[in-house]
């Protein structure tokens, strides 16, 4: 009888083993499946007199072959790999965009400057001027298109973040449910292998989206994000939400909703695709947009300023080539009021005072009282100082100045200042009439006929206007430009020869003396002269000050030789149709002039160098990203290999097991046959 039981137990054990092996073979392709093994144990032996006889076998456990350490390694490497893959996926198209000569900025810049040189060679040629305008248009269009690509990338990132947060929430909910089921079954003494495998697989999928810390606690798996914010704790799930950033609505931020409160975790999310996108946005995309914007601002500001310093084909001072960088709309766009600000706090108008001093950082303004505020430079929060809204003129911080309009602030209000971010999208070519290109310098000198002596004006000694018109103060600039028209020509008359020095007097058109000075005859002398400006009726044009002072236009010129007595030089305004090209030469000089980042120790870099820096920066990040991606792929492959090596199903092994357990089954069935024969022998002998 007991032999029958022994046989039965062997049979059922072998049958379970066969079923487990069959389960392994069927699940060879299931993701996250750990192969299962049966563990047999002996039943308790019975005592017969002095000897113990065993009573068969029992199935102790169906256990899954699993190493939690290898599993944890797989999860961390998964999130690392997804991070670098997502980063690489974003940075590679940006790198291509900037490097390609047909889509990048460098080609348009070079072509523009080549057109300027063409106009300089033939300033009177309308065709060359028109070509210059077209190339300016192409340049601003190129700025716009690169900028719109960058903005599109930002929009894509925003969209992706939303999708991924959704996925994370779904997966977290699944984990919580599995936690509950598993703890129910475990508490009643079972070991739900499939549920455990499913939970591991869900957690691994979650790791592709975000880096997470997994903690096993009493059979539950708790998931923590960032620096320890709980996403899943036992059965409870907190929701990961994507909302427009409080400081910067264009950039979506992630926040964890704990039911009673929400906390913003954007800055501490690392790992996974979400981490990779966030890392890309803050280290590559935002600086690239700011750098591109800075180059656009310098281009517009410098070229417009040079235009205002020269005379166009109609004989007027030049007008803006590109739209003004300090228009009302642009000034308001550069400041973003935080969503938490008090009602009626208004916004800042950010006006750019010195494009050379601009950096590529964003800034944060915090109000400490209704009128006092501190400015910090992001991302390292360097303090730029404390200021007051009542100070006039407004203080200039890193090339820009702030003016609060439209309301009054309260203590605690914060604003984010992005001086350069939108400039590349906003730059437009404003000039349409190629005659208004100012190529000629405003002042020209001519030696009056009838003089004696050896006075000459070298070609580089022609007068250059040193007074810089402020193109953002249109009223003063127009008044001064008209004043210059009314106050020229002036005459410089030299006094008697024969001493070590020679005196000269500057006279206005009517012969009234304006100023005087001395030169050393026989050498090169540089004269710095000031013309007091008068309007059409002869009244002086004043700077209200205080104190009230007449406005002047100063110019430098160089003379050589020894002027004879009463030799005179006439300095007059350039005529319409002048073929002079000195202002155009200044415009062409922008290609190599150091105009960007002039506040740094190197005294600045040129426009092309600034763009080159941007391209190189993105390129090196892309190269680094490629290396990172290759490295993390290798690490992930290793971790996966290690896990699969332990927990993966090998069909050959399972085949061997099938044969083995079949034999065991056959052997156990032989025991039953033997038991049956014993019984029938016993029955037949009676």
């Amino acid at each position: 009888m007991s032999l029958l039981n022994i046989g039965m137990s062997g049979l059922s054990a072998s049958q379970s083993s066969l079923m487990t092996t069959g389960n392994n073979i069927a699940n060879v392709d299931t993701a996250g499946y750990s192969r299962q093994q049966t563990v047999q144990g002996t039943k308790a032996s019975q005592q017969f007199g002095n000897v113990y006889i065993g009573t068969g076998t029992t199935l102790a456990d169906v256990r899954r072959v699993y190493n939690s350490y290898l599993d944890a390694q797989l999860q961390t490497t998964t999130s690392l790999n997804s991070d670098s893959a997502a980063y690489l996926g974003q940075v590679t198209p940006l790198d291509k965009l900037l490097s390609d000569t047909s889509t990048g900025l460098n080609g348009a810049l070079t072509k523009f400057f080549a057109s300027v040189q063409n106009v300089n060679a033939k300033p009177g040629d309308d065709a060359s001027r028109q070509l210059l305008l077209s190339d300016a248009q192409a340049l601003s269009n190129r700025f716009n298109s690169v900028s719109s690509q960058l903005n599109e990338q930002n929009a894509n990132i925003n969209g992706n973040l939303t999708n991924m947060a959704d996925q994370v929430n779904k997966l977290a909910a699944t984990v919580a449910q599995l936690n509950q089921k598993i703890s129910e079954i475990s508490s009643s003494g079972g070991m739900p292998n499939e549920l455990l495998d499913a939970r591991n697989e869900t957690v691994r999928q979650l790791s592709t989206f975000t880096g997470a810390q997994i903690v096993e606690r009493e059979g539950n798996v708790d998931i923590y994000l960032g620096s320890g914010q709980p996403l899943v704790m036992g059965n409870t799930v907190n929701k990961l939400e994507v909302v427009p950033g409080k400081d910067d609505p264009n950039r979506l931020a992630l926040q964890l909703n704990r039911g009673s409160s929400t906390i913003d975790i954007t800055s501490i999310m690392t790992g996974g695709e979400i981490g990779g996108l966030l890392r890309y946005r803050s280290t590559v995309l935002d600086p690239a947009m700011n750098e591109l914007g800075r180059v656009a601002l310098v281009v517009a500001d410098q070229m417009n300023s040079i235009q205002a310093q020269g005379i166009d084909k109609n004989g007027d001072f030049g007008s803006n080539l590109f739209n003004s960088i300090n228009s009302a709309a642009q000034m308001a766009q550069r400041s973003i009021a935080s969503g938490n600000n008090s009602v009626g706090s208004g916004n800042f108008d950010v006006s750019i005072e010195d494009t050379g001093k601009l950096t590529i950082n964003d800034y944060k303004v915090t109000f400490t009282s209704a009128t006092d505020y501190t400015v910090q430079r992001l991302p390292d929060n360097t303090s730029m100082g404390s200021f007051n809204t009542a100070t006039t003129p407004a203080p200039v911080i890193d090339g820009f100045s702030l003016k609060l309009t439209g309301g009054t602030a309260a203590a605690g209000d914060t604003f984010k200042i992005t001086p350069t971010r939108n400039a590349a999208a906003n730059i437009k070519t404003e000039m349409t009439d190629s005659k208004r290109l100012a190529i000629a310098a405003p002042l020209g000198a001519a030696i009056a006929a009838g003089g004696s002596g050896t006075l000459t004006i070298p070609a580089s000694g022609q007068p250059t206007l040193t007074t810089k018109f402020d193109i953002y103060d249109a009223a003063t600039t127009t008044a001064m430009q008209n004043g210059l028209k009314n106050s020229t020509p002036v005459k410089i008359v030299f006094g008697a020869t024969g001493g070590a020095t020679q005196t000269y007097q500057m006279l206005d058109a009517k012969g009234n003396p304006l100023s005087s000075g001395t030169i050393v005859p026989g050498q090169n002398n540089t004269l710095s002269l000031s013309i007091p400006l008068v309007d059409a009726s002869g009244a002086p044009i004043n700077d209200p000050g205080p104190p009230i002072v007449q406005r002047t236009a100063t110019f430098d010129m160089t003379i050589a030789g020894s002027p004879g007595t009463s030799t005179a030089i006439n300095v007059s305004l350039s005529q319409p149709g002048s073929l002079d090209n000195r202002n155009g030469t200044a415009l062409a000089g922008l290609q190599t002039a150091q105009t960007v980042d002039t506040g740094s120790a190197s005294k600045g870099i040129s426009l092309s160098d600034a763009y080159g820096k941007l391209v190189e920066g993105v390129g090196s990040k892309a190269a680094q990203g490629k290396l990172d991606s290759a490295a993390t792929e290798a690490i992930l492959a290793n971790a996966k290999g290690a896990r699969d090596s332990l927990s993966g199903v090998d069909l050959d092994e399972e085949t061997g097991n099938l044969v083995k357990y079949q034999q065991y089954y056959t052997a156990s069935s032989q025991i039953i046959k033997a038991a049956q024969e014993i019984f029938s022998t016993l029955i037949n002998s009676i």
Binding site: A446, G511, Q591, S645, G648
Partner: protein, 522 residues
């Protein structure tokens, strides 16, 4: 180590993909032979390529500019050479006309040829380039540089600005030569004049020419400080020269002012402070030299600025300006517009003086009211014949006589040669003086033109050197760019072959191992 079935297939697939991607990338590189496609391929190299690209474009622009300059220099040189040939012909005519054997008719023929030369010169000096801009005007490309005034003199309307183009990183070169440098600065050798002060009526006995400046240095150093001078003939052999302060400076005259009255009408030269004066004594029958010669006196001074005031055709009245003179030297030097002025009447007596050109925005330099028939503005008085009306305009051109344009020289020569002498010795002496002045000024003009030509030649030579330099720089630039950007074909092909082999090997390995399996054997 245990390999699970899934692991085997996954790793085979991953390796195959990697090899395949490598093969594709290498074959792309083999077909384009460009190693640096984006900045990620070589960030530092990409940045250097951008800089090199900028340098290449600037070198390109320099070479374009040099082509432009070569073109303008070529045209300028051709025009200047033509003008030089014409001036040489004019000089021949002038020298020939001094031949004693020429009759009035011969000189008339020379004069008419000089007239043609004058027209030719004017047209050559007003040459336009292929864009229709005048080449000698400086920056005033739309304004003809030389124009003729009503009295036959010429005015320069251009300016003194050179148009520079960059031909190297730190070097610019002028594309044009201004009319000021090439023509206007020719020194006027006849910038002194003499005027007989006693006797009141010229008796023809003593003819003193206006003088020619033989030595510029001496003239500038000594003559100008003492003018105006008075030349007195104190006897028939001695003349006395006193300066403006009354000092006797005869010692500085050649031969101490001694001349001869007995050698007929032969011309004698008195050289004083750099000026050569031609003296002719024409004694008539019955003259006693000591009585006739003594008492003549002349003033000798630099020619004062002269004005040419012409009436505009559209004037309401028929008033004309008959005389001009500088009455207030300080005012004149301070405010009179040197480039030309417009005298405009606002009523029959009130007038304003503007600088030309007169535009809608011009403001008057000075204004005034007529005193009698004289209008004085900025130190110059204009005598008018007739009554002016409101709206009358007179354009005033200034000639300072320090320098003289060859056009004026040729014009004056032509006038002199057209004047018949009728064998009058005095007329002949005046004619000779005029021819001497004309020849001297033609030489001066030819010298000035020669220096203009050498400037053009110098620039051309400098261009040749700069072209070579720029070409070497461009070549080095291209080579450096190639070294950074291009890939080595041999290396790429080797790599491609290796990767193809690896791909084939992994394909083979996969197919072989996939066939193995215990399932098939059981």
């Amino acid at each position: 180590m245990r390999i699970s079935t899934a692991q085997f297939y996954e790793s085979s697939a991953a390796n195959y993909q990697k090899n395949f991607a490598n093969v594709v990338k290498s074959s792309e590189e083999a077909s384009s032979l460009v190693r640096v496609n984006t900045a990620a391929d070589d960030p530092v190299g990409a940045s250097r390529l951008l800089q090199l690209g900028q340098q290449a474009s600037m070198l390109d622009q320099f070479s374009n500019n040099m082509t432009t300059i070569k073109g303008t220099l070529g045209q300028t040189e051709a025009v200047m050479t033509s003008i030089n040939n014409v001036l040489q012909r004019a000089k021949e005519l002038a020298l020939g006309a001094g031949n004693a054997g020429y009759t009035d008719a011969d000189r008339q023929a020379n004069a008419s040829e000089l007239g043609q030369i004058e027209e030719q010169l004017l047209s050559l000096m007003n040459t336009k380039d292929e864009n229709g801009k005048y080449i000698f005007s400086g920056s005033k490309g739309d304004i003809a540089p030389f124009s003729r005034n009503t009295d036959g003199s010429y005015t320069y309307n251009g300016d003194q600005v050179t148009l520079d183009l960059p031909i190297g990183d730190t070097q610019s070169m002028a594309t044009n030569s201004t009319g000021w440098d090439v023509f206007q600065q020719a020194i006027n050798t006849s910038r002194t004049q003499t005027a007989m002060t006693s006797p009141a009526v010229d008796d023809g006995r003593v003819v003193l020419s206006n003088g020619q400046v033989g030595s510029d240095v001496t003239y500038n150093a000594k003559f100008r400080s003492g003018e105006p001078y008075t030349v007195n003939f104190v006897s028939d052999t001695q003349l006395q020269i006193t300066d403006s302060l009354g000092n006797d400076v005869t010692a500085e005259a050649s031969q101490n002012g001694v001349f001869s009255s007995t050698s007929g009408a032969a011309t004698q030269t008195v050289n004083f402070r750099g000026v050569d004066l031609k003296l002719n004594i024409n004694l008539q029958a019955g003259d006693v030299p000591s009585t006739v010669i003594t008492g003549h006196s002349f003033t000798l001074a630099a020619k004062p600025d002269s004005f040419n005031a012409s009436r505009s055709p559209g004037n309401p009245s028929a008033a004309l300006v008959t005389g001009t003179a500088v009455t207030n030297s300080a005012d004149y030097h301070a405010s009179f517009p040197g480039g030309g002025a417009i005298l405009k009447f606002t009523s029959a007596t009130n007038y304003d003086l503007y600088a030309s050109p007169l535009t809608a925005n011009s403001t008057p330099v000075s204004s005034g009211t007529m005193a009698g028939s004289t209008a004085t503005a900025s130190g110059v008085s204009f005598t008018l014949a007739g009554t002016p009306a409101a709206g009358d305009q007179f354009s005033v051109a200034v000639n300072t006589h320090q320098t003289q344009n060859v056009l004026d020289t040729v014009s004056q020569l032509k006038t002199a040669l057209s004047t018949p002498t009728n064998n009058n010795p005095i007329a002949i002496q005046k004619l000779n003086a005029a021819i001497g002045s004309g020849v001297g000024n033609l030489s001066s003009g030819i010298d000035q033109l020669a220096s203009g030509l050498s400037s053009v030649g110098g620039r051309g030579a400098s261009l040749v050197t700069q072209t070579d330099i720029n070409q070497s720089l461009a070549l080095a630039n291209t080579q450096t760019q190639g070294a950074i950007r291009d890939s080595d074909p041999a290396e790429v092909m080797t790599r491609l072959t290796l990767q193809q082999t690896m791909l084939q090997a992994s394909q083979l390995a996969f197919s072989k191992i996939a066939q193995l399996g215990l399932f098939n054997k059981v």
